[in-house]
């Protein structure tokens, strides 16, 4: 059993991973804050576009069933160019994984453990991810299944608790579309589309291992829509409880919203509990990116990825601290540079470049095998 090389996850596990992946760092840093009270509309638009993007990714995978992103790249671009592009993807995945990790480290060190060195959080978190990935994709999927009820319930409960605390001001949502559609569209592309939806490009490494591959497209699109809906819900809560201006200024919007909760004079300061709920989302996200990078390295170097789990993850833990000097720099990078120089090329340009090449090559291969078959 343990000898088998290919591990499978079920459709439900895929959906669970995608869902937690989507809401993982969104729950930490929040989205669409630039569009003020219309953030939820922006998220809605981005969700629809994101679902389309994910459908496109799965469509690409369906051309070559059973092969993951890296194998596909090699197929399209040949051995050496394929390796170079694959290495770029590895770099991208590992870097983003370090960024996500940093998001969480900042959250913990600024909200809970003010005097704890950031390294401690970073190493322990990445250690968990490494342990999970070492045990394999199946274990990863199942772990997601165990935690999804808690993540889901808590996200829903935050909204209800805010509502019952009387902090839910629908007035804050007005005026709807005060500045017209322009700013929203500008915000949706590139920022909202690429984060969190475009990041699902990593799942091109995982989706091929789903046991019912034929249904993967439907499930992925549906999951993206559901998670988009939950993100809209979260954004609505943030706007309604904080107001657009305060939301713009706060670093961790959902957390600030949760601070407003006060029930029965007993349930207070639940923001801490929120932190621990998003922790699992972050673990999923870091692990998915890490898995993407490791699988890429496995493909490039022909070494089972399990050998590289611990060294690479420790490097991630280190990079997460080194990528920026402080939180402000980290966020500024995330807003200004990352979408433009990392997300757009890897999430959109490369796949679009690859699409015609892939379709052409698959057709050629088919024709050849047909010719062989008829001979």
């Amino acid at each position: 059993m343990s000898k088998k090389l290919v591990e499978n996850i079920s459709l439900w596990q895929l959906a669970v991973l995608m869902f937690t992946f989507e809401i993982g760092s969104v729950a930490v840093v929040g989205v669409g804050t630039d569009t003020k009270q219309d953030a939820w509309i922006a998220v809605g638009v981005a969700t629809v576009l994101g679902a389309g993007l994910v459908w496109f990714y799965v469509y690409l995978l369906q051309q070559l069933p059973g092969r993951n992103l890296f194998e596909m790249i090699t197929f399209c671009f040949g051995k050496w160019l394929g390796k170079i592009i694959g290495l770029l993807y590895v770099y991208y995945f590992l870097y983003i994984s370090a960024r996500v990790l940093r998001d969480f480290c900042e959250l913990i060190t600024s909200v809970i453990f003010e005097s704890t060195p950031i390294e401690v959080i970073s190493i322990t978190m990445v250690g968990i991810c490494a342990y999970m990935l070492y045990l394999g994709l199946e274990v990863f999927g199942r772990t997601g299944e165990v935690f999804i009820p808690y993540v889901f319930t808590f996200i829903i409960l935050i909204g209800l608790a805010i509502l019952f605390s009387g902090e839910f001001e629908l007035k804050n949502l007005l005026p709807i579309l005060g500045d017209g559609f322009g700013p929203i569209l500008k915000h949706v592309f590139p920022r909202l589309l690429t984060f969190p939806f475009g990041e699902l490009v990593t799942f091109m490494v995982i989706i091929p291992y789903v046991s019912h591959f034929a249904k993967a497209a439907k499930v992925s699109v549906f999951t993206v829509l559901v998670s988009g809906f939950i993100i809209i819900y979260g954004t609505l809560i943030e706007i309604a409880s904080l107001g657009a201006r305060q939301m713009e200024r706060t670093v961790f919007p959902l957390l600030s919203a949760a601070r407003e909760i006060s029930l029965l004079e007993f349930i207070e300061r639940v923001d801490l509990i929120i932190v621990f709920v998003v922790m699992f989302g972050i673990i999923t996200k870091v692990s998915v990116f890490l898995y993407g990078g490791l699988k890429g390295l496995e493909h490039i170097m022909n070494v089972p990825y399990r050998y590289m789990v611990f060294p690479i993850s420790m490097i991630i833990g280190y990079i997460a601290i080194q990528i920026s000097a402080n939180n402000a720099e980290h966020i500024e990078e995330g807003i200004r540079f990352i979408p433009l120089y990392m997300h757009i090329p890897f999430q959109i340009i490369f796949p679009i470049l690859m699409a015609p090449l892939l379709i052409w090559k698959v057709k050629k291969q088919k024709r050849r095998s047909d010719a062989n078959g008829s001979r």
């Binding site: 059993m1 045990l135 394999g136 199942r142 300061r269 801490l272 922790m279």
Partner: protein
């Protein structure tokens, strides 16, 4: 089943190459040959059993032929031996002269169950099993007569898994009694019991019981394979077997279910599991087991379903309490005071004012004290039990608080944790929480709530990676199966529960065909 093939690498059943007890003797350098000459046989067996006071050879004469009866006096009832065997062989009995061993049996012992032993190994084995073996000069085989009737414990109420409603019988140390307890409940020819012998020195009988019509063939195959692989000097309890055949040893969680309740074992067998019954152990194992099995008591099925669902949820909650409550206290009182309501925080702090230790030391010491008391409570002679409980409760509990060594809240927490840990119906499982609790306290002392969560996530990752005979340990939860949820955290009414657990890949997946919902008879013509 496609997946089952995949999991178990389906292999057709080989002619089972299990080692019989007779072959085991060969490894011990006991000669196999049974001679025709009585003298040689006698010498051989006397040499083997020398220095054993209970080994007896009674020489007898069958007409003018020499013969002897040999047996272990402690392994059979002497009354039966005299009545059934020795009397009918008595020379005063007037009998025709039989020389042939089968005619001896036909004429002298027509009603005693018997076996022919044509090798010396078989003779030795039969003697060891409490047979009386009759060896006749000039015959190529010996006659072994089953006498049996060694003293054994009566069937009593279970001592570790008590229930309020339901059958009160428990397994005993005698394997035949145990099997009969199962047979009595499942009257079905498909209920099979296959016998194995384990332990080089002890040669203990291990019987696997299963329903051939239900149990998945691959699971059965895997179980047999693991039993055949057992190579050890001796096994004394099913606990040894558990450790020898489980998938992984480095885990605090029990991967194999054990119980002393026949009804519970029958329930498991009917679901498609395999029971392992070891001679001399009142605890019967079932494999494969999943985590949720350890939260199910057989009483759940005898009580109304709403009530048992509630109780089952209580068990899960108390498992969590037993696991995390002390560490939560440490985390909250050391790191996250703001999470506590102000009034509660004030009262806790007021109590802790005079306590000289940090919370983690305090709770560590108290938990350790409790563990010591628990262990003492299990081992000490019954007669001093009262004393220890008084000393424990009064001195450690009350006096420690009054002396200002520990705070009141802490005693409440330790006591509550302890009680919660006893809720688990299977004792094995509650032990695992004991061990984990200490590590968890350490984590929470270092990292606070973050540490608690860190540990819980690692624990869950570990749990989902476990397997029991190849079946995921968290089956039906992860991998999630919505159709199995009728008997996991809650129990649906019995008529609604129509499927056997699909994670066991049973050969016949349905328990029953139709869906009968109990309802009052249809009203006739507009009531009264």
């Amino acid at each position: 089943m496609g997946l089952a093939d995949f999991l178990f690498n389906r292999r057709k059943h080989k002619n089972n190459n299990k080692i019989t007890a007779e072959e085991l003797f060969q490894q011990e350098n006991i000669s196999k040959k049974y001679y025709k000459s009585l003298e040689k046989n006698k010498k051989q067996i006397q040499e083997l059993f020398q220095h054993s006071f209970d080994f007896t050879i009674d020489p007898i004469k069958l007409g003018d032929t020499d013969a002897c009866v040999c047996y272990l006096g402690t392994m059979l009832s002497k009354d039966t031996l005299t009545n059934k065997v020795l009397n009918s062989l008595h020379p005063h009995n007037d009998h025709p002269r039989h020389k042939d061993i089968s005619s001896i049996r036909d004429n002298y012992f027509p009603t005693v169950s018997y076996e022919y032993a044509d090798t010396f190994h078989k003779v030795v084995w039969n003697v060891l099993n409490g047979y009386a073996v009759i060896m006749v000069d000039g015959q190529g085989k010996a006659l072994s007569l089953e006498i049996g009737n060694v003293e054994k414990r009566a069937i009593t109420e279970p001592s570790t898994q008590t229930i309020i409603r339901g059958p009160k019988e428990a397994f005993t140390e005698d394997i035949n009694t145990n099997i009969s307890l199962i047979r009595k409940r499942i009257r079905n020819p498909h209920l099979k019991f296959e016998s194995f012998y384990v332990g080089r020195d002890t040669k203990t009988q291990l019987v696997i019981g299963y329903m051939s019509s239900i149990t998945n063939a691959d699971i059965l195959e895997e179980v047999k394979k693991r039993i055949e692989k057992i190579d050890i000097g001796g096994v004394l309890d099913s606990g040894n077997i558990e450790e020898l055949i489980s998938d992984k040893s480095f885990t605090p969680f029990p991967l194999i279910f054990n119980t002393e309740r026949p009804d519970s074992i029958c329930g498991h067998i009917m679901e498609g599991k395999v029971a392992l019954i070891l001679d001399g152990s009142p605890f019967v194992l079932t494999v494969p087991s999943v985590l949720t099995d350890f939260f199910e008591s057989s009483e759940d099925y005898y009580q109304p379903f709403l009530m048992s669902s509630f109780i089952r949820l209580i068990r899960y909650i108390s498992f969590m309490i037993a696991l995390v409550l002390p560490s939560l206290y440490v985390a909250l009182s050391t790191f996250h005071q703001e999470l506590m309501p102000t009034q509660l925080l004030l009262s806790i702090q007021a109590q802790r004012e005079g306590v000289p230790f940090p919370a983690v030391i305090e709770i560590f010491v108290m938990e350790l004290t409790f563990e010591i008391m628990r262990e003492a409570g299990v081992r000490m002679p019954r007669a001093v039990g009262q004393t220890v409980s008084i000393v424990g409760a009064l001195v450690i509990g009350q006096a420690a608080v009054e002396a200002g060594l520990v705070s009141n809240v802490l005693v409440i927490i330790v006591a509550f944790t302890a009680i919660a840990s006893f809720v688990s119906p299977i004792y094995n499982f509650s032990i695992s929480t004991r061990l984990l609790r200490f590590i968890l306290i350490l984590f929470s002392a270092i990292f606070g709530l973050y540490g608690v969560l860190l540990f819980l996530i690692v624990m869950v990752i570990h749990l989902v990676s476990l397997r029991s005979i190849g079946i995921p340990y968290l089956a039906a939860v992860a991998p999630f199966d919505i159709k199995e949820q009728d008997d996991i955290f809650v129990r649906f009414p019995i008529w609604a529960n129509r499927k056997r657990p699909s994670y066991l890949y049973p050969e016949s997946p349905m328990k029953k065909k139709g869906k009968h919902i109990p309802s009052p008879p249809p009203a006739k013509g507009g009531g009264k």
